[in-house]
Subunit: 382 residues, 4 copies
Amino acid sequence: MSRRIRLGMVGGGAGGFIGGVHRMAARLDHRFDLVAGALSSDPARAAASAVECGIAPERSYSDYRDMARKEAARPDGVEVVSIVTPNHLHVPVACAFLEAGIHVICDKPLASTYEDAQALYEVLERAGRLFVLTHNYSGYPMVRHAQELVTQNALGPLRVVQVEYAQDWLARNVERQGVKGAEWRTDVARAGLGGAIGDIGTHAYHLMRFVTGLRPESLRAELSSFVSGRSLDDDAQIMLRFEGGARGMLWASQVASGHANGLRLRVYGEKAGIEWLQEEPDRLSFRPLDGPAQTFIRGGHGIGEAATAATRIPGGHPEGYLEAFATLYREAADKILAFETGTPSPDLPGIVEGLEGMRFILAAVQSAQNDGSRVPLHSADA
Amino acid sequence: MSRRIRLGMVGGGAGGFIGGVHRMAARLDHRFDLVAGALSSDPARAAASAVECGIAPERSYSDYRDMARKEAARPDGVEVVSIVTPNHLHVPVACAFLEAGIHVICDKPLASTYEDAQALYEVLERAGRLFVLTHNYSGYPMVRHAQELVTQNALGPLRVVQVEYAQDWLARNVERQGVKGAEWRTDVARAGLGGAIGDIGTHAYHLMRFVTGLRPESLRAELSSFVSGRSLDDDAQIMLRFEGGARGMLWASQVASGHANGLRLRVYGEKAGIEWLQEEPDRLSFRPLDGPAQTFIRGGHGIGEAATAATRIPGGHPEGYLEAFATLYREAADKILAFETGTPSPDLPGIVEGLEGMRFILAAVQSAQNDGSRVPLHSADA
Amino acid sequence: MSRRIRLGMVGGGAGGFIGGVHRMAARLDHRFDLVAGALSSDPARAAASAVECGIAPERSYSDYRDMARKEAARPDGVEVVSIVTPNHLHVPVACAFLEAGIHVICDKPLASTYEDAQALYEVLERAGRLFVLTHNYSGYPMVRHAQELVTQNALGPLRVVQVEYAQDWLARNVERQGVKGAEWRTDVARAGLGGAIGDIGTHAYHLMRFVTGLRPESLRAELSSFVSGRSLDDDAQIMLRFEGGARGMLWASQVASGHANGLRLRVYGEKAGIEWLQEEPDRLSFRPLDGPAQTFIRGGHGIGEAATAATRIPGGHPEGYLEAFATLYREAADKILAFETGTPSPDLPGIVEGLEGMRFILAAVQSAQNDGSRVPLHSADA
Amino acid sequence: MSRRIRLGMVGGGAGGFIGGVHRMAARLDHRFDLVAGALSSDPARAAASAVECGIAPERSYSDYRDMARKEAARPDGVEVVSIVTPNHLHVPVACAFLEAGIHVICDKPLASTYEDAQALYEVLERAGRLFVLTHNYSGYPMVRHAQELVTQNALGPLRVVQVEYAQDWLARNVERQGVKGAEWRTDVARAGLGGAIGDIGTHAYHLMRFVTGLRPESLRAELSSFVSGRSLDDDAQIMLRFEGGARGMLWASQVASGHANGLRLRVYGEKAGIEWLQEEPDRLSFRPLDGPAQTFIRGGHGIGEAATAATRIPGGHPEGYLEAFATLYREAADKILAFETGTPSPDLPGIVEGLEGMRFILAAVQSAQNDGSRVPLHSADA
């Protein structure tokens, strides 16, 4: 067994959602030990949460800078830190740890402002440490399979992409009703310029980019704030142009009554189309132009190496969200070990994808503010 | 039983698709007798097709003007004519019959040019006859139920509409391979300015208008011709603004590998969302914001008057496309009888919806030609 | 066009369900003219129903014997009669018409007693006329395709069959609440010895026989009458043995809350399994042991001759129950014309299938009455 | 946070499937530390697997008796042991640990013979320790919700149960092709008298018992061995009678081509029916007799306490098999802590359910050997 990696966490105190997810994801494959945390900026809450997480009291911090400094100084200090704070803290926290020589696993979107994101890029360049951005949907085995089908040209040249992420939890003004996750997500100071576009639109955008490899050229966006009193968008409708002529539509909504996490990707090529739905993640529809539709099942027939490597249990016994998230953590562990020995390791979403996501948010906001004008949208690798 | 109405048909000779559909639809409820036809402009083919349809040889015509004149002169002449020709003939044929005092049932879109459509409008005004446009998807019971739910405010004020019509039969250059229906549909002279946007985009647009009653304000469109050598669009992506602030996306594609007739409508209001898919027409998903999702079944529990009136057999025994089409024919028969007695009759898609569809096509084409500029799009009733 | 066949009907007056279905089915393909009927034994109701159906008053009868005699004497008399009465009348009516030289299309089950069924068999032998039993589910294109897959050995030798027909309309004592169809179906005098087993179990049994060709060897049955005050079974659970070692389970229930017409067939062979569900009839799942699951769509890719011949419109535009029923009528028309010229015609469910169904009902009842004892069950062709 | 419990494991060395599942399940909620194991009876393989699992070398054993003795003697010895061996070892291993005062978590079925099962029962009585049987499907939140609906009488008195567990991985003679899990499962010496009936039939049976609470009265069974050369059953078809008159069918097959883990439960009561499918575990269909069908979603609207307590993340982000399994482990941890303090703790499947499962296997085998004779089948609590 590979040795377990010492993990710290910033944010994720009791009551939040995503902190617990990161912890379960880190634990599932037994590759990390959570040994330190600044789980809250409130000392008492931080301490209580630390106990809850099995972190020793002396390694519970309420100030992340303090934590970065002290952990860096310990021989058994954390090797990597997970950042699960609201968006506006991603960059300062990441910079503190990177500058202390500690790798970073960070929730998305990368930052609340593009300036912050660029600053992080520069710090990261200097620090020479690893940075993983948890675009967790790319950890699903059938998303990996979808990517492999595209890469192997099973769809032929791509023509059309339809991607959407539909939720309804912000269909009412829950930010005024004490729902903590809603409060910061609808607050420009903490979330950044994007509401739905930043919170879930970036997931949809990354998923589309991850599977298709298509490089975006420009977009037109319509952002709406349907709920009275809300300043950030809660619904985003976007038309995309890709290099080479492919076209796409992206819809991200947090007011789509009846949807929980309706992230759906459809890709159409000259030879075949595919469809994947996050709420039924173990299946991938493959619809060739010249034959009956096929349903690929995780762990089933016709599944390639990429999906298989991300699979824990046989097909028909569902894996879900936590497993996909855990795959990113497992791969981050591999990456950290490879980093130490200087060996190559697989790609994971990181700073490049983070900058792309920020450019996407900004382009959408800019377009929407100009009545849907066309805004160029180069991919980071363009 | 109501007396049967004498029906004629123009177009629809052997080999086509939609002519047979109209005939089965007219027959199902025993409200029409098909007694005359100009099924083809080729006399021999017209005659052979007439025999096939049980039309007496002396009432088979190869010239629709001839037919209109002679049938109008017969005491037992046709009372109504179904027009199932390529688009560019809809208006001249309709005018010929209307001017001869004969009601018209016409396939969509209304015309191949907006000028033609306007000309028809004027002829119709003068003729004082009935004109029914077969936006047949509005004949599905669960589409009627969807409309009723909206009307009864079961969804609350509407916010977002997502509508799409995805096919793949034009994903290759079949118009060069002798597929007759593809030939004229991809030919601007016969189809008009719209390709996919005209052929199926108008269906999606009408369905959305029919169910939601939302009045469009403007659109931005991206039209693509993915298949080499094709001049008309085979993929249309559109963002819509509605009066009152609702927003919509419409996608119509004939190159979406793996889709046959994927007409799907989703409507989201403040209180609930609905989803309907033409390929599973007997079901309607209703997803309230505050309770578990419900599935309404044609003929099942909780179905209102509108859907019930359009239902022939109990739930669980599927009705399909022909039944929905037949419902329009049945209602056209009711309308013709009501016309005779001057009694009121239910609305059916007609000239107003036809003009709206034409405006939609033209606005989309105009927008696409201007790089997706915003084009106003008033509804006919605006 | 083939000449239209003169059709009569016995039963099916206003208020019933299945009479209207037969009439629409007969009409859809324009192969029959309904010209005479004994739609009710009540003269006034018969006459009113006849008007409703477009039958001339002088050819409306209230006594089927009268009708058989008089129609046989007319030069333009009916060539075939559809029998849509309660079960106990099937045989006397059929005999009257067969003895008058008139072909018969009869609803299922064949009879209310096995003695009646045998008597019919003998009359039919003597009469030398056609007899079609409307096991209408065998008219669905994808059921035909399923049969073809089995015949072509795409499943390999068959091992297991699971078939069920679940309804809930008799989950309450509706026969005491004036539901006419429930009254006679729960009355041994009119329905015969079988309740659910006769009404829908025979459909499930026939479907299984039709698709698999497996020859039953024996059964064990558990029949229940869950609704208080009901004497006939409303739920039937059966284990079947087939020649050659295949095994099957059959469930027919009219008290299965939440099911409308849940007729489902699953067949498993050494190489693949298939699944078909009547409520989504245009699809057939094909699941090979060595590859991803495939979904065959009516009118889509990979569909063989049998299904194609039973298809009216392209895939993606749903056909339903009436179309499947109409296919039996169309084939009955072909059979009648072929009979006249002595040419061969395709098989349709008839007396053999009717007798098999009766044996199935009786075996199930006999087994259930003996605590689920094993009862032999030879197929008619065994 | 509750203190972590010291866990040992017997069986589950590299190459197996279920050992890894138990380890991930134990880890997910951070309630256990795996500190000792007899992962294989082969010392080298045991040692290698121990390293893989993070177990210290000195606590890796190759003899479970040795492990029980030594761990019981350590102050930091394991408090509970997970048994993940082939069936025939469950009882001897469990007895060794129970007699050493160590709690047991054991895979199902309880034993390979009923005598063994009874012996275990007696040992357990004497030992006064906890015994948990991992009928893991009862850990799914929507299974808990189904049980709650039944308990709250939302279905009314129950009439019919349909349960099935369909797999296809034994559709070929893979036990001769080196598939280890197939070897012992098809070997009467290691699996016991039941093949499919023991391996998956017991899961289906327990699921049905868990959700409905119905007490079985008798069964008739048909067991088949379709694959040539196999002595144990690979397909089981069973008809069940319950106290109070409800009736059920149970099908368990490992030769059902196209199914991976098709565990499906349907329950029909006087007021409503429910359906749950393991392959889509986050959903539960609820179909009232008097309203439209509803779909309950884990984490969604209308979900009661039982399911909520078993839920880790919000609805729409799928949980799967490992999470359900982990819930049993979490509850086992609660139970162990409660045991120490003498406080009450929730029920978990244990010896009673294990004995019931054994009786079910034996009754099915006995019935099948007597041509499907009726065999009484009392529940343990009867």
